[in-house]
């Protein structure tokens, strides 16, 4: 099993979610994060004090899928989340040792 962690733009969440849905993904977890990267943020000015806001609001999406489904999911996310501009985000893929569905106690493949 793989956990696919994608940092995407806020407003791309809806697109990615429905793309994944169509692709057959049945679950995911979403977190509000702030990202720092090439996208150089912007300057905010508060009463004359300038702040370089390098922490841009982003969405972190976590999807756990079976080994063989991973590549398809990654491609789906890349397609749906891409704008082509700096700041589109990253995907990080982890190997999972185990997965459990709390409700039933099922593990691994059945738990997703």
């Amino acid at each position: 099993m793989k956990k696919i962690e994608a940092i995407i733009r806020h407003f791309k969440l809806e697109d990615v979610k429905s793309a994944l849905n169509e692709h057959g993904v049945q679950g995911m977890t979403v977190t509000e994060v702030r990202g720092f990267g090439r996208q150089k943020g912007h300057t905010e000015m508060y009463r004359g004090t300038e702040y370089t806001v390098d922490l841009v609001p982003k969405i972190k999406l976590e999807v756990v899928v079976a080994e063989d489904a991973a590549q398809g999911v990654i491609e789906t996310i890349v397609q749906a989340a891409r704008t082509g501009q700096v700041g589109d985000g990253k995907i990080f893929v982890h190997d999972l040792a185990q997965t459990v569905r709390i409700r039933t106690g099922e593990v691994n493949g059945e738990a997703i």
């Binding site: 733009r9 806020h10 407003f11 809806e14 702030r34 912007h42 300057t43 905010e44 000015m45 508060y46 806001v53 922490l55």
Partner: protein, 468 residues
């Protein structure tokens, strides 16, 4: 009697003289026995024309403060809670900036254009730069029983909130600079004329001889404020176009607690708006206050009741939308109908606007983002018509003893229909032309990227909440 609401005092001189006589007589014999139970006070100001009444003035000062509170924090909270998080400051900024901008315009020429002179179509330069309004040699010119300064202030608060209402129609996408220019022009070309027509003895003033059929009974701004802004809002929504992702992405309100705080502040502030429109702390102010209160309550019940029946449960947003709808709907009639009619009008407003914001809007799919048309356009129109139904000589004897509203057998409903239609036409025409010009010159919308980023950052370089 030529007009009957905010500018009413000017045209009351002759009748008032009689009242003064009576008042003087009663002053002279103060001990004469009234039974506390039976005694009543005339809705017509007891204060003689030309004498200041500090009780009236105290209420009008308080009312002016209340109406300013309606725009911000009231409306600013009500609206900003309904947008997405990335636009929360954008909406607030439009409200706050308009408080500054429209006030300065009002001081420079807006009041003069609205309330100067007696012309049928537009005011004159009489009060430019506050001449003739300010104190001279320690004395303040009067308007009725209050200083003209206070009349100017109270009316000026309406000049702020009316454009601010429109903001909801193009929330989350309009360019800030264009918004500012649009509002100045709109205020000058729609609000000021309309205000003059209805409240300063212009062509839509009840009793005006030039154009007798269109005289509206509009106590506190059904046509001048709500219809004008609500209809213009629809034109804005149509011409500016939908938000990116409208219909495909969810755009739920990001903070309904703000919306509820704002809505209830609007309820409180509306007492200044409507009861203040009596321009006195008289019996009619009390009557307008009560009608307003009852309509808000009934609107709240009606909208949430509709939800309860049709959707299984009432929502806080529904209750808040309903109370605002009730308030909008009672506005024109508040000083003409009995308070108990306010319950009926509020119910109609709540249910009617519910219908407009759900069935109608989803049928036509315009993106009137915060339902300015659905609430103010529809509610204002409904209110103007219902005023023609429920108005009664018991509250304001505008037909010299004859019947007023439909229920009494009167015919003002015809005038109300004509005045409403004219207001619709004016608002649609001017807004359409202004937006077309601005579209060609400045551009109406922010760029797609800026819209996606949100107005807070793209237009103002700020974020609403920073918790990390």
């Amino acid at each position: 009697m030529k007009q009957d609401t905010k500018g009413m005092w000017r045209c009351r001189f002759s009748t008032a003289l009689g009242v003064v006589m009576v008042a003087a007589a009663s002053l002279a014999v103060p001990g004469h026995a009234h039974s506390a139970e039976d005694t009543v006070v005339s809705g017509v100001s007891e204060a003689a024309e030309g004498r200041m009444d500090r009780g009236d003035h105290a209420w009008m000062l308080a009312s002016s403060a209340l109406v300013l509170m309606m725009t911000a924090p009231g409306l600013a909270l009500f609206y900003s809670g309904l947008v997405r998080k990335k636009n929360v400051l954008g909406v607030m900024m439009q409200c706050v900036f308009l408080m500054g901008l429209m006030t300065v315009i009002w001081a420079l020429y807006g009041y003069s254009l609205s309330f100067g002179g007696d012309g049928p179509l537009i005011g004159n330069g009489e009060f430019l730069l506050m001449n003739g309004v300010q104190m001279v040699d320690g004395a303040a010119p009067l308007e009725g029983s209050i200083p003209r300064l206070t009349h100017m202030l109270f009316q000026g608060m309406f000049f702020i909130i009316t454009p601010a209402l429109i903001v909801g129609a193009f929330a989350e996408r309009m360019k800030f600079s264009t918004m500012a220019v649009f509002m100045v022009l709109w205020g000058t070309l729609v609000y000021c004329p309309l205000c003059h027509w209805v409240w300063d003895n212009g062509i839509l003033c009840d009793g005006n001889k030039t154009f007798p059929i269109g005289g509206a009974l509009d106590f506190a701004g059904g046509t001048v404020v709500h219809i004008s802004s609500g209809i213009s809002a629809l034109v804005c929504a149509l011409l500016i176009g939908r938000r990116l992702g409208f219909g495909s992405e969810p755009m739920p309100p990001h903070n309904l607690t703000y919306t509820a705080i704002g809505a209830t502040m609007l309820w409180v502030g509306w007492f200044g708006f409507n009861a203040g429109s009596a321009l006195a702390a008289d019996g009619r102010a009390a009557s307008a206050f009560a009608a307003t209160h009852f309509a808000a309550a009934a609107g709240c019940l009606a909208w949430s009741g509709c939800e309860w029946v049709l959707r299984g449960r009432p929502s806080l947003l529904g209750a808040c939308s309903g109370l605002v709808a009730g308030l909008v709907c009672i506005t024109p009639g508040s000083g003409f109908v009995q308070p108990v009619s306010g319950v009926a009008i509020g119910l109609a407003g709540g249910a009617g606007c519910f219908f407009a914001c759900t069935a109608v809007k989803s049928r036509f799919r315009y993106d009137d983002s915060l339902d300015v048309f659905g609430v103010h356009g529809v509610g204002g129109t409904l209110g103007a018509l219902l005023t023609g139904v429920f108005a009664t000589r018991h509250v304001a004897d505008v037909r010299s003893g004859g019947p007023v509203g439909l229920i009494e057998g009167g015919t003002v409903l015809v005038n109300q229909i004509v005045a409403t239609a004219i207001t619709w036409i004016l608002a649609v025409a001017v807004t359409f032309v202004l937006l077309k010009i601005l579209d060609a010159t400045m551009g109406l919308r922010v760029s797609q990227d800026e819209e996606i980023q949100g107005l807070d950052l793209s237009q103002h370089g700020e974020e609403g909440y920073i918790f990390i």
